[in-house]
Structure formats: structure tokens, C-alpha cells
């Protein structure tokens, strides 16, 4: 069964009535399906007008959950979103970026989801709607584990919300993968910095993905970086002890030990690159 509601309210009603899978960009649903037949209804939410818009309000920048990566790349967004845009360009291929959506990426909750570290550094919140109404929660609370989210069976993610002042950060994203395109990350780093008038780091936000079940912010390191005035300063303050709760695993892409070693290097370089506003990425 394929259902194509015309409005968000209709979609919520259909989901409540039939259950089933929400289809947006299809870039995770169809690969998972393989050759097996569809067991539950498919509800196409890819064209709901309520989900598509990217808007800037007084306090909040709202990315509709149905915004595709290509739309996000093309949207006029402040510098704090540069890391998110860079991550968007690394997701799969252009074909995937043209279809895959920000909401879908979050709901899929892969530890290797490229968008999550930049969104964590933006202190993004997730907006959810169900017949019980609307609720909001921090992204860090929404993604609960490997492929696990706080999404209820009758709920739809409608938007990702970013406090407008977070657009003022300088941001940077870097991804380590085994090949140039179409590659699942071995590790990825997002950095957002604010510089004081004298050039020193006034505020730092750093998140790392693919090195734990859920991408993590690194608060200890963020605090330690405040006051750094040079890339050399940064190098001395990025230490393994400050990478905190990483719990990398061995998989087909890399060993756990390698991820731990690489994370340190990648974080150091990403912070330095962000500090110098360099755009070079590793892993190419």
C-alpha cells in the first residue's frame, strides 16, 4: 500500500490509522528493502509543503525535515552552517544529496550519519508532531543509540531547529573515508568556533561521529580550547584524554584502535583548519 497525503495533518492521520513506513528521500528505505516485498504501508511525505521549507525566524533557523541535502547546500545560511553544508556535500553522491533529507538522516540514526556532528555543534533541536501534538527535544536526546531514536510510532519529525545566534560561529567539517565518493565515514569531525576580538578562541564546539554509537560533543576539549591563540596552542590542547567517551568499534571500515588514533589527529587538524578558516578536508 502506498499512501500519499497532501498535508501534514493527513499524514499524521494516516500514520495513526495504518502504521507503516514514512518515505521521504528513500535513500535508506529502499536499500534496506533489497529484494524483499514491502510488508507495511508506505506513506510518502516527500512532498508535504509543511516539511520542505528552510526559513529564518527571529530566534530560530528552521530546516524543514523534508529539506534535501542539495537544498540545504543551496540555501542562504550563515557561516555556522558551513560545516553542515560541507557534510551535506559528502553524503553519498549528488544523486543521494538530491533526494536524501535531513529528517530522514536523523531518523535513520546511523552512527556514521554525516549530518549529526555539525548539527550537534549547532545545538540543533528536533521538532516532532503526532496526534498528541507537537514536541521538541535536543538532537542529542533524539538519537538514543545505534539506529535508535526517541521517535514514537505515530510521530513524524517535522523540522530541525537551530538557535539563530549559532549561525555566528565559524564552522568546519572534515570526513575520513577510505575512498573519495560514496563512502561511509570512518570518522568525521565538526567544529564551530567563536573568536574573541583579540583573535583567541572564545567559544568552541566540537563533535565527532562514527567513533561511538551516537556522535558525541567533546565538552572537556571545548572548554580547554578557550583562549587558544594559535594552531600550536591548539595542538597542545587537543589530547587523547580530552576526547572523552569515544567507544570506537572494529568493523569492515577500520579497526577500533585506528579510529582512536585517527580521531585525535582529525580533531586536532579540524580545529586548526577551522581556526585558520582553511577548507581542506582529509580523507579524499
Amino acid at each position: 500500500m502506498f499512501l500519499q497525503p497532501a498535508t501534514l495533518n493527513a499524514a499524521i492521520d494516516l500514520l495513526a490509522q495504518h502504521g507503516g513506513k514514512l518515505l521521504a528521500g528513500g535513500t535508506d528505505i529502499f536499500p534496506a528493502l533489497g529484494q524483499t516485498a514491502l510488508a507495511s504501508p508506505m506513506i510518502d511525505i516527500s512532498r508535504l509543503p509543511e516539511l520542505c521549507a528552510i526559513t529564518t525566524g527571529a530566534d530560530t533557523i528552521r530546516l524543514g525535515a523534508g529539506a534535501t541535502w542539495s537544498e540545504i547546500v543551496a540555501a542562504p545560511l550563515p557561516a555556522g552552517f558551513d560545516a553542515l553544508k560541507a557534510a551535506a556535500r559528502e553524503i553519498g553522491s549528488i544523486q543521494i544529496q538530491n533526494r536524501g533529507t535531513i529528517g530522514g538522516n536523523l531518523c535513520n540514526a546511523s552512527p556514521a550519519a554525516d549530518s549529526v556532528p555539525p548539527l550537534l555543534t549547532l545545538d540543533a533541536r528536533v521538532e516532532l508532531v503526532s496526534p498528541r501534538g507537537m514536541r521538541e527535544m535536543p538532537l542529542s536526546a533524539f538519537i538514543r543509540g545505534n539506529r535508535q531514536t526517541a521517535l514514537a510510532a505515530d510521530e513524524i519529525v517535522t523540522a530541525v531547529l537551530v538557535p539563530r545566534e549559532n549561525g555566528d560561529f565559524i564552522s568546519h567539517f572534515s570526513k575520513l573515508g577510505a575512498r573519495r565518493y560514496l563512502v561511509i565515514s570512518i570518522a568525521m569531525i565538526a567544529v564551530a568556533l567563536k573568536r574573541a576580538a583579540d583573535g583567541a578562541i572564545a567559544q568552541a564546539r566540537i563533535a565527532i561521529g562514527s567513533c561511538s554509537a551516537v556522535a558525541l560533543r567533546l565538552p572537556e576539549l571545548e572548554a580547554a580550547l578557550v583562549g587558544c591563540r594559535s594552531v600550536t596552542d591548539i595542538a597542545t590542547r587537543v589530547t587523547i584524554a580530552r576526547l572523552g567517551g569515544l567507544s570506537p568499534i572494529d568493523d569492515v571500515r577500520a579497526s577500533a584502535g585506528y579510529r582512536r588514533d585517527a580521531a585525535l589527529i582529525l580533531v586536532r587538524r579540524a580545529v586548526q583548519d577551522c581556526f585558520e578558516k582553511r577548507t581542506a578536508t582529509v580523507g579524499r
Binding site: 529502499f30 516485498a37 575512498r179
Partner: protein, 920 residues
């Protein structure tokens, strides 16, 4: 909300359509099966390969990731409609042809769609922009460089290229003769065409590496699932439930009986109408599995008292190979320097973009199988055996083949669909999923090689002691070929006075390892060429100098005692690299010296040599070519070599045209079909240009002689094939042969010639001495790269490839083989490893993308073979062999770290760097 079970309206290639298919179906499936637009290819159903790229409202999308319902009201453009809609696409198609950017053609529609979208918004893109735009489409044949060149060259003025004159086709860069249909997207691959009454077959496969099984109540399952027309099991195989590419070793069942020996082995199949079969949950098929302990590695299968994979194969050894010459122990004892090492290589998947597919029809008491294959006559023999019918009751019609690289030599879908169609008397088709293709078809043998090599203090090689084990998996496939090829080649293209090479093909419970571009020789090259670098370093001799100095001379015996004589072009290959080598060493040294002290980037240069015997090892492998002259003045070339993208349709026609003295446009090509073309053997072992090409030359010459006799003309006369006549210009005299006046043979030809060629080889004695091949191809690659020593990341900068091809029949196609071989060598060295049961898809199993292959400079050496057609040798496998060891040598040059286990993934490289630092 509208009722989506009704027809979905959208605009397709500029025309409104309404499709009454389930709206949740993948758009790719709807385009192909419901609308008959098979130019949109399906390679993975997961967005990993981009073969199904189409435009939706002008933007690229993977049609496999969209539901039909999602395109309601939108404009979808496919390769079928794009040329009419966009002059850019038409220019791109011509540019792809001109550059040889399409080989097998399976990725070509996706590439063209993606490139059209790019050029629509950026008329003169940079190389990086082309890579970004095409990064989502995988190609396994070309190495991408010619695709990049073709896209960047669109719009530049093109001088019209005239077809070569009669007698001048060999050596000409003519466009691939079967290229137009590849760039049009109209070439018909295994899954592209089937009649509407064709039934669909799906196999029931074991989830365990090793196990027993019991079939349950099949009758009840049939009753509960009325859409199933019939279930097939081993009991339904009319002939022998056994097949294999090497007759005496054939051991693989169509359907397993009681025991399964690898994950994915089939135990049964269900057949019915497509919709019904697709709706089944095959996990509910009535079968009970019992998992048994499995040997997955060489170590497990070779352990003391290891259980046997096959009762009759003692110690789990399928076959041993042996080549021994001189006294190796004495030679190494007397050497001034000896190095040794253990090298291990991974399980590598062919990863052609076309999963196996085909259709079988029963025609009376004959069976016709149309499927993607590299070996129609071998398929015919095994299908006849499986069905228990005579050979001439089987017709194999190869479809276009979307990449093969060795794995489509073995049967895949053919036994299943043939058995089913035989019983049902209705066409039966099967299309492998990507998971099925990866998990059940052959792989490159993982190898474990222990090698010692010695030299004198002035750098003359003294001897090599090589022992290698190769994991051949659950069934024989080409395990014997690997075990026999490796010891013949493990010395590399050098003079080796003393030599002992012992190999074993070892059975385990993994998917069979078989043929993969090089039959074990690339694995041996990884050991041999790294050790030569280590030896040269130890002796303080330049690594290229060391190789040049030891390069086999025409008068020196090989390790099998064969003196090759003319056509031993390895020295020329190394010498041609000399200026490149000096430049690259200088540049690397300068870059490293100039880098800031804290820079993690180190430049390195590596080199490796290669040799590879063309054709079967000491075994007959003749090809027969038939050439007929029709009364209308056209020539019919019955060319049975399957063109899997490498270009045999074009190359063999070029050779034949020049042998006749005809313009290439006078020839009509009749491609492989066991009813229409004589046996040209299999497309493997780099044998088609050499052996089939030689048969084509002989047939062409024979027909030419007949024509000259009719005109009583001299050997140098010029022929001109015109409507209804042949004009023979002999000196000042022009003879006209009116063809309508000549009698016609049973095939309708007024003149015909059929010639067979087999390579002159001898069998090998107990010490492996003899002449296993009549022709060897030689080559050497030089790799320049940067290693990020903090992350273990490699960035390839340039690969310079010198190959002795004897005679470059079509330089564009040869460069295509070299670039494609290099891309696979890059994957072998840096990326690719299959883990049975994990990563049965193209996002965990990573092959190089368009951003992973650096600039390639090809240097073609033409040291003519006295045996090959017009001097030509093979190139298909040769191109891949030296890439991986040259990369590994460059990594060692850059970092001091030796990689003993490949692929050299970032984690392994970083570990090796740390170990080297620790030792240093």
C-alpha cells in the same frame, strides 16, 4: 490525498504517461519492466552504483531509490529520451565513443545522464567538477580517466576521423564497433529483455558457511502459495547435478544435496509469475538448517586433523603446483644478500556493475540460454551435462556483458533457469541481486606466500624460493589454474638461475575462488616485487636499475626453461620508464625536503615489473574463425569471442580486415552464438586478441588467397569490396569478380574460409619445465603518491604504465585496458576485501570511484611477437598485475613501512608505519 493505487501520471522523456503499476514500486523497475526502457540499468538497488541515474525535474536521482508514486506529476528523463531533449547528450555520446569512455557499457547511461546534468549548469567544468558530478556512478572497466576526458572534451571542435584505408586498420584508433548501442543505452544485457510470459526464478540459499539441511513439506508450501508454479531441487536436475569450468575437477552442484559448503549455496528454487515470486518471503521456505563448524581461512583448513570439505580431497588440498629449476638451496646459501617475507592478500570481488542475469527457453528438444557470460562454449557443455542432452541440443546466446573480469566464466544463473525452463517448457529468467552476486559468485583467491630471494653483491638475482597457499573456497572453479599459473610466473619477468615455487589450492567453506584478472599472478607479484625492492635496498642499488639489469633477455631461459626469443620486451618497458623514474625521484625528494618539519605528508615513488603468459597454461585452447563473402559484396565475420567490454569485437575485426585487405566497413560482424559462430574459447587468460585474433588473421588471409586466385592476381593486389562485386587491382590491371555468378555454399556464401589457431605450447614435466605459453606480455608500472603518515592515508598522484603489447592493434582500447586494470589494481592494493557474511553490498565492499584513480600515462612498447597476429599480444590481465606492488613499493619509499597484508587500508598502513618507526 489521491488514490495512489490508480495509474500514476508523469512526463516521461517529454511525453505524458500513466502507469498502472503499484505506486510503491521502484521507479527503476517500472521504467525497465513496465515501460520497456532498459537503458536505465540496475546494479545494486541501493544507490551505491548510480547505474540507474535518471533526471527527475532536471536533477539526477537514482531510480532505484524512488517510488513510482513519488514521480507523479513530474518529468522523468532517461537515456532513451535525453539525446532528443539535449544536444549536450548527443555531443557527450560522440565524445564517449571517440575517447573510448564506454567499455562494457553498463555504467554508460548513468554516466551520460549525470554528465548531461553537469554540463547543463557548467559548460566547461574543471576535472574536479567532473569528478564531483560523476562521483555517484561506479565504473569497473575504464578506470574513469577516459570518461573524465570525454566529458571535458565536449564542445571542443572535432576533426572528422576518417575510417582507415583498406589494410590500415591495425594500429588505428577506431571507435569501438559496438559502441553506438552502448552510448545509446540500447545494448541488451542479461536482465534487459524478456518476453511477457517469462517466469521469474529465485533461489533458496543457505545462511550458513557450512551446514546440513532438510527440505520440509514442499507440497504444503506450494499449496499455500499458489503463485509458485513449481519448486525445483536437486531431484529435478535431469542430468548430472554437477558442473565446473575444468571438467576433471567439476564438483559444484546446481542444488546442494544434504550438505552446503558455503554461505549462499542454493538448495532449491521457486518459479512463478514475477509479481507472485517477488511477493514471497523466502525466509518462510520450508527448509530446516543445521549449522556445522566451518573452515573460513587457510589456517583452519590446513590445521592438523581438519575436517575435509570434500571427502576425496586429502588434507583439503585441491591441487598442487610446482616449478623447480637448479639447486635453490645452494643458490641462496651462496648469495651475497637474501631477503624474505610473508605476504597475505585478501578476498577480492569482481564487482562488475551488471549482476548476473539471463533467460532460458526450451525450443522443442533444445535449450536456449541467453545470459551474460565470458564462455559460451563452456556454458553449452555444462548445460548439456546438467540437462542430460546432447551438446548440439544446447544453444548459448551471450547477451551484452556488463563486466566479467573472470567471474562470468563460471556458471551462475544458467543451471537454474535451464533446469526450470526444461521442465516448464516456458521461458524462465533470473536476475541476481547485488547481495546474491557478491555472496555466491567466484572471487580472487586470498593468498599466503612465503618467499626468499637472493642476489650477488653486484645485483644479479641468484634464486627464489616461493611457497604459496591459495584459498580456493568450497568448489574447484579455477583453483587448479591459479595453482599452476602462480609457480610459472612468481619469478616475475627476470632471469632467475635457481628457482623453486610450490603452490597449493586449499578448500575452505567460503564462496569458490576462481578466475579474476591474472589467475593468482597479481598476488604473487605483490610478494615478488616488494622483495626485489627490499633486495635492491639491501644492496644499495637503484630499484629500477636492479630490475633492468635482471630483466629477462630474449636468449635467457625462463623459470620453466623456455627461451622466448623475439618479443621479450620487458627490458624496453623498464628503459622507457627511466626518465620518468629520475624525474619522479627528484620531485619526491624535493617535496619531502621542502615540506615543513611538522607536515604529515611524505612523497614516494614505486615501481614494479610484470610478465604474463597469454592463453591457457600448456593446455589446448584453440579458436576458430569463419569468414564468408556474400553475393552482395559484404564480408561476414563469425566472431565467437565474447566482447565483455575489452573490445574483441573491434580488435578482431581490425585484424581480419587487414588480413583480407578490406576496409573495416565492408565487414558485418556476427557475434558469439554457439549456433552461428565457431568456438573461440573463453574470454580469459588475455587470449582473445592473441589466439582468436590470429585465427581471424589466418581466415582473412585464406579468403584473400581465394579471391586472388579467382582473379589470378598477385599477392600484393588491392581488393575493393563493392555492391555485388570485388574489384582486384593488380598493378595496372583491375579485375572484377561478379559475385552473383558464383555458386553459394550452404550458408549462402560465395566464398568462405574457416581457420583454427592454437598456441604452440608444450606440457610441463614433473619439475614444471617446458613451454607453457607461446607468448608473454610484459609491463612495468611506476606510481607516485603521498602518504599522510599520521592517518595512513594514501593519495595517488600519477601512474606511468609501460606495456609491451607486441603490436597496438587499437591504441585507444589498449589504453582503456591499462587504465581499467590500474583501477582494479588500486582497489586490490588499497581498498578491497570481501568478508563472507558481511558487506555483501557496494557500500561496504568499496571499489575505486572516479575520484580515486589518478592521471595515467601509458607507454606502449611494440616488441612484436613472432606468433601473435601482426605481432600482437594480450593486455587484459597484464594491465592489472604491476599496479598493486608498485603502490606498495611507493608507500614503503615514502614511509619506510612494508605492507605484508593487503589491502593496505589506512589502519594497516598506520600500524606498519608505527612498526617501522619502532624497529628503526
Amino acid at each position: 490525498m489521491f488514490d495512489t493505487q490508480a495509474a500514476t501520471p508523469f512526463t516521461l522523456n517529454g511525453h505524458p504517461v500513466e502507469v498502472a503499476a503499484p505506486a510503491e514500486w521502484r521507479l527503476s523497475r517500472v521504467l525497465r519492466d513496465e515501460l520497456g526502457l532498459a537503458g536505465t540499468k540496475v546494479g545494486c538497488d541501493a544507490g551505491d552504483c548510480g547505474a540507474c541515474t535518471v533526471l527527475v525535474d532536471g536533477e539526477t536521482a537514482c531510480a532505484c531509490l524512488m517510488a513510482l508514486g513519488q514521480v507523479a506529476g513530474r518529468a522523468v528523463t532517461t537515456i532513451e529520451g535525453l539525446p532528443a531533449a539535449s544536444p549536450i547528450t548527443r555531443d557527450l555520446q560522440q565524445s564517449f565513443l571517440r575517447h573510448g569512455a564506454a567499455q562494457c557499457g553498463i555504467c554508460t547511461p548513468g554516466m551520460l545522464v549525470a554528465a548531461t546534468a553537469l554540463l547543463g549548469r557548467n559548460a566547461s567544468p574543471s576535472e574536479e567538477a567532473v569528478q564531483d558530478a560523476l562521483g555517484g556512478v561506479l565504473c569497473r572497466c575504464t578506470g574513469y580517466r577516459k570518461i573524465i576526458a570525454a566529458v571535458m572534451d565536449v564542445g571542443s571542435p572535432v576533426a572528422a576521423v576518417a575510417r582507415p584505408l583498406a589494410g590500415k586498420a591495425v594500429g588505428a584508433r577506431i571507435d569501438r564497433l559496438d559502441g553506438q548501442r552502448k552510448v545509446d543505452g540500447t545494448d541488451v544485457f542479461g536482465a534487459d529483455s524478456h518476453p511477457h510470459d517469462a517466469l521469474l526464478l529465485r533461489a533458496i540459499r543457505t545462511p550458513f558457511h557450512h551446514g546440513r539441511f532438510k527440505l520440509g513439506d514442499l507440497k504444503a508450501y506450494l499449496r499455500d502459495n499458489p503463485g509458485i508454479v513449481r519448486i525445483f531441487t536437486a531431484a529435478d536436475v535431469p542430468g548430472e547435478n554437477c558442473f565446473g569450468v575444468i571438467g576433471p575437477f567439476a564438483d559444484q552442484p546446481v542444488f546442494a544435496v544434504d550438505e552446503t559448503r558455503f554461505r549462499g549455496e542454493a538448495v532449491a528454487a521457486v518459479v512463478g509469475e514475477a509479481k507472485a515470486i517477488e511477493a514471497l518471503d523466502l525466509k518462510k521456505f520450508p527448509v530446516s538448517w543445521e549449522e556445522l563448524p566451518a573452515h573460513l581461512t587457510l589456517g583452519a583448513a590446513l590445521a592438523d586433523k581438519a575436517s575435509l570439505v570434500h571427502e576425496a580431497r586429502t588434507d583439503n588440498i585441491l591441487v598442487r603446483g610446482r616449478v623447480v629449476r637448479g639447486d635453490i638451496d645452494a643458490a641462496l646459501a651462496q648469495s651475497d644478500a637474501v631477503v624474505e617475507g610473508v605476504f597475505e592478500t585478501g578476498f577480492v570481488e569482481h564487482a562488475y556493475i551488471e549482476p548476473e542475469a539471463g533467460i532460458a527457453h526450451r525450443v522443442g528438444d533444445r535449450m536456449e540460454v541467453q545470459a551474460c557470460t565470458q564462455a559460451p562454449y563452456m556454458d553449452r557443455d555444462d548445460v548439456a551435462k546438467i540437462l542430460g542432452i546432447p551438446l548440439d541440443a544446447v544453444r548459448i546466446i551471450p547477451t551484452a556483458v556488463g563486466g566479467g573480469f573472470g567471474s562470468k566464466l563460471d556458471l551462475s544463473v544458467q543451471p537454474f533457469i535451464a533446469v526450470a525452463a526444461w521442465h516448464l517448457k516456458q521461458p524462465v529468467r533470473m536476475v541476481y541481486s547485488r547481495a546474491e552476486s557478491i555472496s555466491t559468485t567466484t572471487k580472487r583467491h586470498p593468498g599466503r606466500m612465503q618467499v626468499r630471494v637472493g642476489a650477488t653483491k653486484d645485483g644479479q638475482l641468484t634464486g627464489m624460493d616461493f611457497s604459496g597457499d591459495f584459498n580456493t573456497g568450497a568448489y574447484a572453479s579455477f583453483g587448479p589454474t591459479v595453482a599452476n599459473r602462480v609457480p610459472v610466473h612468481a619469478s616475475g619477468p627476470y632471469f632467475m638461475p635457481a628457482y623453486r615455487a610450490l603452490t597449493r589450492a586449499v578448500h575452505t567453506h567460503v564462496v569458490p575462488a576462481g578466475a579474476f584478472r591474472g589467475f593468482g599472478v597479481p598476488q604473487a607479484g605483490i610478494a615478488q616485487e616488494q622483495l626485489y625492492d627490499m633486495l635492491a635496498e639491501k644492496l644499495g642499488i637503484d630499484k629500477l636499475q636492479f630490475r633492468t639489469q635482471n630483466a629477462l633477455r630474449p636468449d635467457q631461459p625462463t623459470v620453466t626453461g623456455q627461451v622466448l626469443g623475439a618479443g621479450t620486451g620487458i627490458r624496453a618497458c623498464f628503459e622507457s620508464l627511466e626518465p620518468h623514474w629520475q624525474r619522479a625521484l627528484k620531485e619526491a625528494a624535493a617535496a619531502n625536503a621542502q615540506a615543513p618539519a611538522d607536515s604529515p605528508l611524505r612523497r614516494g615513488v614505486g615501481i614494479a615489473g610484470m610478465w604474463y603468459g597469454c592463453g591457457n597454461t600448456s593446455l589446448a585452447n584453440p579458436s576458430t574463425i569463419r569468414l564468408g563473402l556474400k553475393a552482395d559484396g559484404r564480408l561476414a565475420l563469425h566472431q565467437g569471442a565474447v566482447d565483455i567490454g575489452q573490445g574483441s569485437n573491434t580488435v578482431i575485426t581490425q585484424l581480419c580486415a587487414d588480413a583480407v585487405g578490406a576496409q573495416i566497413d565492408s565487414i558485418d560482424l556476427i557475434s558469439a552464438d554457439t549456433d552461428l559462430t565457431p568456438d573461440c574459447g573463453k574470454t580469459s587468460a588475455s587470449r582473445q586478441t592473441f589466439i582468436t585474433g590470429k585465427a581471424a588473421q589466418l581466415a582473412g588471409e585464406a579468403l584473400r588467397r581465394q579471391i586472388l586466385r579467382l582473379a589470378n592476381a598477385g599477392a600484393d593486389a588491392a581488393l575493393s569490396f563493392r555492391p555485388g562485386k570485388v574489384v582486384v587491382q593488380d598493378g595496372g590491371i583491375a579485375h572484377q569478380i561478379e559475385l552473383s555468378s558464383l555458386p553459394r555454399d550452404a550458408r549462402g556464401y560465395v566464398l568462405a574460409a574457416e581457420e583454427t589457431f592454437d598456441a604452440p605450447t608444450t606440457s610441463l614435466d614433473a619439475d614444471g619445465q617446458g613451454a607453457p605459453y607461446a607468448v608473454y606480455g610484459f609491463g612495468a608500472h611506476m606510481v607516485e603518491l603521498t602518504v599522510d603518515v599520521e592517518l595512513g592515508l594514501v593519495k595517488l598522484l600519477k601512474i606511468t604504465a609501460a606495456h609491451d603489447v607486441g603490436r597496438a592493434v587499437n591504441p585507444t582500447l589498449i589504453e582503456g585496458q591499462i587504465e581499467g586494470g590500474i583501477a582494479q589494481g588500486i582497489g586490490l592494493a588499497l581498498l578491497e576485501e570481501f568478508h563472507p557474511g558481511r558487506g555483501e553490498n557496494l557500500h561496504d565492499y568499496l571499489i575505486p570511484t572516479i575520484g580515486d584513480v589518478p592521471v595515467v600515462e601509458s607507454i606502449l612498447i611494440e616488441d612484436a611477437s613472432p606468433v601473435g597476429p601482426f605481432g600482437a599480444k594480450g593486455i587484459g590481465e597484464q594491465a592489472l598485475i604491476p599496479t598493486a606492488p608498485a603502490i606498495l613499493n611507493a608507500i614503503a619509499h615514502a614511509t619506510g613501512a612494508r605492507l605484508h597484508r593487503i589491502p593496505a587500508t589506512p589502519d594497516r598502513i598506520l600500524a606498519a608505519i608505527k612498526e617501522a618507526a619502532h624497529e628503526g
